[in-house]
Point group: D2
Chain length 263, copies 4
Amino acid sequence: MDRTGVGSPGTVDLNCDLGESFGAYVIGDDEALLALVSSANVACGFHGGDPRVMATTVARAAARGVAVGAHPGFLDLAGFGRRAIAASPDEVRTDVLYQLGALGAFCRAEGVPLRHVKAHGALYTLAVNDLAISTAIAAAVRAYDPGLRFFAPPGTALARAAGEAGLPLVREGFADRAYEPDGTLVARRSPGALVTDPATAADRMLRLVTEGVVRAADGTDVPLAVDTICTHADTPGAVAIVATVRARLEAAGIEIRPPDGAG
Amino acid sequence: MDRTGVGSPGTVDLNCDLGESFGAYVIGDDEALLALVSSANVACGFHGGDPRVMATTVARAAARGVAVGAHPGFLDLAGFGRRAIAASPDEVRTDVLYQLGALGAFCRAEGVPLRHVKAHGALYTLAVNDLAISTAIAAAVRAYDPGLRFFAPPGTALARAAGEAGLPLVREGFADRAYEPDGTLVARRSPGALVTDPATAADRMLRLVTEGVVRAADGTDVPLAVDTICTHADTPGAVAIVATVRARLEAAGIEIRPPDGAG
Amino acid sequence: MDRTGVGSPGTVDLNCDLGESFGAYVIGDDEALLALVSSANVACGFHGGDPRVMATTVARAAARGVAVGAHPGFLDLAGFGRRAIAASPDEVRTDVLYQLGALGAFCRAEGVPLRHVKAHGALYTLAVNDLAISTAIAAAVRAYDPGLRFFAPPGTALARAAGEAGLPLVREGFADRAYEPDGTLVARRSPGALVTDPATAADRMLRLVTEGVVRAADGTDVPLAVDTICTHADTPGAVAIVATVRARLEAAGIEIRPPDGAG
Amino acid sequence: MDRTGVGSPGTVDLNCDLGESFGAYVIGDDEALLALVSSANVACGFHGGDPRVMATTVARAAARGVAVGAHPGFLDLAGFGRRAIAASPDEVRTDVLYQLGALGAFCRAEGVPLRHVKAHGALYTLAVNDLAISTAIAAAVRAYDPGLRFFAPPGTALARAAGEAGLPLVREGFADRAYEPDGTLVARRSPGALVTDPATAADRMLRLVTEGVVRAADGTDVPLAVDTICTHADTPGAVAIVATVRARLEAAGIEIRPPDGAG
């Protein structure tokens, strides 16, 4: 059983993966997204990001008051961290610890706290169903800073590992993804997996935040409690989706802000 | 002018570069050297080292009470960090900051402080004569932790940058290297650049610590004040050199310990 | 069904993975092994090896008349290519093609042919049971040079893919590994997986070559037809194993030489 | 003294650096540029490009009849190959040989010849003035295929090394760069270094091709003989520059085609 998430009633967090550019390569519309989200998951150099990009992204987030989190992934720039690697739990633990420290240094230089952690890509997907991997991630987070908010979909191995490690859990939902009746995401390659219409996404997220329910792909309603809402930066129209979701939620009196919760 | 170093009278620090293995590749006799030195400069994954090696090295150093320092280098595993890269000062600053944070995370997980910083290979060599690069390194260190002891040869741009950044300077000498009459090292490729006889190295270092003088390659005596003595782990017979230097110094009543100095 | 292998009666090939050093890091006793084997599987820079090591290894093999083959692996120096990566068949095909070309350039510079291909580590293990991956490897080999001998254990997906691509198959057995009754290898982590006694390995390989039979872990005899015998360079005592296997085979009148077979 | 270049009267080659995307990262408008140039310098995975990008780029170039050349650079994805690395000549030679072979494999798979070689970024800039580095590059090219056309600015160490190695020289000029009175390029960071107006670039290149003269930054006319004209893909408005240069040259009866010249 998950611990209860650390979000506050009447509020929700909006998060996005940012800082994934690398060297001469630019990816994502970070400036536009930083103006809309309350939490930035910043790449740490393994699947994307480099020290210059990390410095710039942390500085931009700090300037806007956006909470900075680490977004550790597999060491696989060629695959953008989206390919599972058969790493051992100890390899995952040490790789995550390394990335937390690296990003934490830029936070320290910028004078802002590192607030949360969200695993990236294949590491996230793997961890959702694999308790050994989840536990390794949580162990790294706990060793680095037990107060770091830990982003995970509710009801998963990843959420369970956070609870067992005593980490503050931030339950995550997705604005741009369809759900199965059991509350899991429709697989990315299935038809209808993506929600790309901003109004539809906004309607769904408003209901999720205010009623605790999301409409699944089969038309049934699924109860789901979330503290943060992710939109993937590379979903077509990501900026419009986040902007519309934010406007709809604010119009309904929901405050957009990073999750609280002491460690 | 350098600030005075932070060593204490009657003491000297012995340092060595460690944790430079990578994945399946083992380099250096870390176990033997950790038993002999008081400060370990631990590679941070750019020129050598990986997260597993970093975790293990910090744990071993902690178990022996050896002070842990960061040993950041150029991102050049193929060249082991020994080839100068024409990086900008901002690239150097952010690369060093990244590496400090990464190693610092393993210190935090192990419950030991990160105590010092010593640049590696071509980055060190470049910085010794290049104030812009030295200043970039010092800026990274100051941003991460202004209490970190900063290793540099006395009288160099690197030492000056430490002073200007207000960092505690640890003046470094070399047990396994010959000196020019001006107090710089004989270039590595010149004949006689290396001192590999343990007894000779020990004699030289005892005189350096007790009299503040080292015999240069031309036979003249050079005044030199050092707080720490480096032996390169890949100098032939490194373990014997460090062991003999340590024994000779201890027999003369010199205490081997990490440099003090408040931040 | 496999095509018949390209070995000749009264002969067998001995192969070993070589050239896996990287930059300052040395691994394996390449000199000793090159004096004993007839085929060298040379790392191509993805899991091990670098351009200097490749140049040197090809030159040494050429000087000894040892046949040079490519040993492509996953792009994972940190894991030495031993961790499966969830790469698509097209990623595998293009990664292998890249590595074949890279090694082929050093063969061309040295004036020796590239003779064979053997996948490395997790890529090999994955391919043995995965026809899509095997087919991707075979497609790369066929596109580069359809005359390249393709090393694979008989009866596997890898051998089947070679046949379907029209590549000359070289059936591979292992001197340093125990076999299951079905002709597959005992899993590396199981007790008794390794055969490290040189005399035992030599006895087993003599019987394999002369009788086409190997004794399985459960004591039964397994029929097995092989054209080449691999000893892993990192098996404890690898040099002694290869030397003893070679001596035993030669004493029995078996000629050690690379497999023939037109493309 | 350079050998005479291999271009034919009444013709000129247009070249561009292409295939520099990497994994999820897209850079450059390759499709538009491939429709305009006669020679494509394809990145080989060290400073940009990956095996998928290389396969796609070679296939696209082949489909349009654009000559494929290798564009080897320093192993520095983080710096996009634009930072000099203090590599030894042997490191340069083997790094270039590796990259030639890797790209050559994709040409072989696509059934098109590898036609030329042009060094990238800092490697090119370094080689222009450093005969040891130039000689190392030329040695790699000669070892791989002495018929490869070798792109170099006339009168430089790079051109001289090509001549000494007996390689067919293709003398290169630049549409998007200003020239000094001595025929060298105005340094990239100097004001006025770039020519970004398409009409100006076209006028200059027409005069260069038809009169063998280019107007230098100080207003003097510099004699210059070129066989190929480069436009950098990352110069602002690169597509418009190449399109305008091509149209102007063709309107003047100049044929745009890859340089001839037997090895």
